[in-house]
């Protein structure tokens, strides 16, 4: 870090690699970037922090040539430029590694790196291999150039992406939330690569919403909030402060003030634990029991292996794990959307393994999916229809198979009022609603009626802070009312706040179950990364 800081100070005195002045970008109904002015210096790891919707991704899209700003100026090495396409961005020496892998899985590493060459030229395998070796040395990684990218792990795929980003010139490297799919070891490796590259004079822009990484890797930190740049911690300040002080400062910038939303994580945690105390009757029979459940997985998926668990009425069982360790399969097999390869599922002692979605729903099991528009709702259909999507054909809204639209709409109006769903009307297509309101529709649909088991998959994914709070509140209220709750989440603070026990999924197996007491964060982390097995 010291060496990198040194390099930064030398570079910082000169011309910025990229200088943005007054960048503004509007989308329908959103001001994504509001007059952002920011400089990125050679040899510096510049962290862009901000929560979902703060405008980080838009800023990156502009630098990568995927979007054009409505106003503002971009200077690259002092020269004003317009970046009209990804090609122009690459030509300017700006390489971007996107949040989602942008490699062709069916092509080999080398073929992916050769992508984008002029089509009339023969493929230059030898030259590509030479540059590949050069960059491998620079990054300090070893990869087989002839393996199809689809067979590499995510960390290695990211290394290929970094190579490609640096391919045409080692000017600026943008990393958009690169750690979200990585294991802790992978994150550590990435940090090393970044420091190495920075020490060689590359300007690195590192986007994240994790404070810890910002402190660990950053030479300079800028904070975005609601499309604006609200503050910057230059290297001098970063070095002067310790981790706790930096965290406090950044949180203040990100959320307005340290108590902007009333609660910090600690008090929430404490209050959650207090609220849960004595809620679950330890003698009660479990409502949901899963015995040695396995699923068969297609390539690229993570199936389940011999998963067993049980949940009592009023209990919240958290399922922790890094994304892609079998969460999707667990949710779907419990909901009845996916067949079990072996094992049993019992609801109130009754075997429902062979039952489908509808039968399990009759047993009181409700599934709140993380893919709210992908499978949870039909975007083109009205809010009213979506509110009854799983009740079609049942009285009183259906009368001998005929739809009573008057009753469906009246039902919808009542639900809209009770759950504070913000929609122009019950006939509005649901795709026009915001993510938070779509989630309210799902919660209203699933948690009403005869629910006795609630199954949540990443319930706050992609929501803004206010709706995150609301959704978590609904989960806690449901449990308080006696719902046996399974909460699958990748957010540790969410699990710690809401769960009675936390089980950890690692490569499709439940590798441990911990009572949510005391300081279990570290233990969970070890289980999540397979370090404890």
């Amino acid at each position: 870090m010291a060496a990198a800081a040194q390099a930064m100070q030398e570079g910082g005195a000169g011309i910025p690699a990229i200088a943005l002045a007054g960048i503004t970008k509007r989308f329908p109904g959103v001001l994504a970037n509001d007059a952002i002015t920011i400089d990125f210096h050679p040899g510096e790891i510049h962290v862009l922090l901000g929560e979902n919707g703060a405008g980080k991704s838009t800023l990156i899209a502009i630098l990568a040539g995927m979007q054009q700003p409505d106003s503002g100026e971009i200077r690259v090495r002092g020269r004003p430029v317009t970046i009209g396409s990804p090609r122009e961005s690459l030509d300017l020496g700006i390489g971007t590694v996107f949040q989602h892998v942008m490699l062709v899985p069916s092509l080999t590493v080398l073929e992916n790196l050769m992508l984008g060459r002029p089509w009339w030229r023969p493929l230059d395998r030898k030259g590509t291999l030479a540059r590949f070796n050069e960059l491998s040395a620079m990054l300090g990684v070893t990869l087989d150039p002839d393996v199809p990218v689809g067979r590499l792990g995510l960390g290695q795929q990211q290394q290929v992406e970094i190579m490609r980003a640096l391919w045409r010139g080692e000017g600026v490297l943008i990393l958009d939330e690169p750690t979200s799919m990585l294991t802790p070891q992978g994150v550590e490796d990435l940090g090393q690569v970044m420091r190495r590259l920075a020490s060689q004079g590359i300007a690195i822009i590192f986007i994240t919403h994790k404070l810890r990484e910002a402190y660990a890797f950053g030479n300079r930190v800028s904070v975005l909030r609601l499309g604006r740049k609200v503050g910057e911690l230059p290297p001098e300040r970063l070095q002067a402060l310790d981790e706790a002080a930096v965290t406090q400062e950044v949180v203040r910038l990100m959320f307005g003030s340290t108590d902007g939303h009333g609660d910090d994580a600690e008090t929430l945690l404490a209050r959650g634990r207090q609220r849960r105390a004595g809620r679950v009757d330890p003698a009660a029979a479990p409502r949901l029991v899963v015995e040695a459940l396995s699923t068969s997985a297609a390539s690229g998926e993570c199936g389940l292996t011999e998963v067993s668990l049980s949940v009592r009425p009023g209990e919240v069982l958290g399922i922790a794990g890094i994304d892609g360790n079998g969460q999707k399969h667990l949710a779907e097999v419990l909901a009845g959307q996916r067949p079990a390869a072996s094992g049993r599922i019992l609801i109130a002692g009754q075997d429902v393994t062979a039952d489908g979605v509808a039968e399990r729903r009759h047993h009181g099991l409700r599934y709140i999916t993380d893919e709210r528009l992908g499978e949870g709702t039909v975007g083109a259909m009205s809010v009213a229809t979506n509110l009854v999507l799983k009740e079609i054909g049942h009285p009183p809204l259906w009368d001998r198979g005929l739809t009573r639209w008057d009753r469906v709409h009246a039902h919808a109006r009542a639900m809209i009022q009770r759950h504070d769903i913000r929609t122009p009307s019950e006939r509005t297509p649901i795709a026009k609603l915001s993510g938070g309101n779509i989630q309210k529709v799902l919660l209203a649909r699933e948690l009403g009626g005869e629910a006795s088991i609630a199954l949540f998959n990443k319930p706050t994914y992609g929501l803004d802070l206010q709706n995150i709070r609301l959704a978590r509140q609904r989960i806690a209220e449901g449990a308080a009312a006696g719902l046996a709750t399974v909460l699958i989440s990748t957010e540790l603070d969410e699990l710690l706040e809401l769960s009675d026990r936390i089980a950890v999924l690692y490569r499709g197996r439940l590798v441990g179950v911990l009572e949510n007491q005391g300081d279990i964060e570290l233990a969970l982390g070890r289980l999540m990364t397979g370090a404890a097995t």
């Binding site: 899209a61 990568a64 995927m66 979007q67 396409s85 990804p86 090609r87 690459l90 030509d91 971007t96 996107f98 989602h100 942008m102 490699l103 062709v104 899985p105 069916s106 092509l107 073929e111 992916n112 050769m114 992508l115 984008g116 060459r117 002029p118 089509w119 009339w120 030229r121 023969p122 493929l123 490609r164």
Partner: protein, 311 residues
């Protein structure tokens, strides 16, 4: 039984299979290019028909088979350009436009033919065949396989050429990426729209060429609706070939045999209604689909228009 193994029968069958199979081969290879790039080109039938008419008219008035083929390819290209504009550039529904082009081409070629030739169906001269020296003298196989118009040999050469292109050239990498991960291609600085657009144009040219061969060589004349589903069979061939040109040629030959069976049977004096034999290729497609349903693999982004920044 002897009649079936007679020299005349086998020669007629093989030679007919090639004549019937070449249009399928050309159109199938063409469709494969589009499918690789992620465009499901349902308008293939229309492009073949356009090629058949354009090819026939050019050959009829110029007297040159080569100009005829060129005109056929150009006609297919014309229709493909419309498809590329509407479906690739503007992102309209590929199925609706594909059906529109096929139906429109059926009507338009029939209409044009009517106004050009009224109710007469003029024929072209005998096809100038290129007998490959040496090979053409082999009994049975020689006259069946090595006495065709040079275009046939070019069509066969196209197979290794495309196979090489797919595996070993920047064009191949671009096509593969456009179909399986268009976002990656875009991020690499190559226009997805242009890649897919050229792929559709190539498809149109090859389909037009196939149609022209069907009219000028296969039939020697143009009849309205003469492609009668060949374009759709070619789509199936491309689907089942899973991006491998060599499978297209096998498939085309197989369907060519079943199409040629009627004529070949007449040589032997066996009289089977044409309809029974006409059922063969379609029944075979269904059979193949039922048997290999699980294995037909299409690019993930097939049929979806590409929108930058859409995840």
């Amino acid at each position: 039984m002897d009649a079936f193994l007679s020299e005349a029968f086998l020669t007629a069958l093989l030679s007919g299979a090639i004549t019937a199979g070449v249009p399928l081969l050309l159109a199938g290879l063409g469709e494969q290019i589009s499918e690789k790039a992620g465009v499901l080109n349902i308008g293939l039938e229309g492009m073949m028909l356009f090629g058949a008419y354009g090819g026939f008219v050019c050959a009829y008035y110029s007297g040159s088979f080569w100009l005829g083929f060129l005109g056929g390819g150009a006609s297919g290209l014309l229709l493909a350009a419309l498809m590329a504009l509407l479906c690739v550039r503007l992102g309209m529904n590929q199925i609706v436009i594909g059906i529109a082009l096929t139906v429109g081409a059926e009507g338009l070629t029939a209409l044009l033919h009517h106004f050009q030739f009224s109710r007469s169906y003029p024929r072209l001269d005998e096809v100038p065949a290129l007998a490959l020296p040496g090979l053409a003298q082999i009994p049975v196989l020689g006259p069946a396989l090595f006495q065709h118009h040079p275009l046939v040999y070019l069509a066969v050469l196209l197979v290794p050429l495309l196979a090489w292109l797919y595996r070993r050239s920047a064009i191949g990498l671009n096509l593969e990426s456009a179909g399986s991960k268009p976002g990656a291609l875009d991020a690499a600085g190559v226009s997805v729209v242009a890649t897919r657009g050229y792929a559709v144009l190539a498809t149109g040219f090859l389909a037009g060429l196939g149609g022209a061969y069907m009219a000028n060589v296969g039939a020697g004349l143009f009849v309205p609706f003469m492609t009668s589903g060949n374009g759709f069979i070619a789509i199936v061939l491309a689907m089942l070939a899973r991006g491998r040109p060599v499978w297209v040629i096998f498939g085309a030959l197989l369907f060519g045999v079943s199409l040629a069976l009627t004529t070949a049977l007449q040589v032997t004096g066996v009289n089977v209604p044409t309809d029974v034999v006409q059922m063969l290729p379609f029944a075979m497609v269904i059979l193949v689909l039922v048997l290999f349903a699980r294995h037909s693999v299409l690019p993930p982004a097939l049929g979806l228009p590409y929108v930058r920044g859409d995840r």
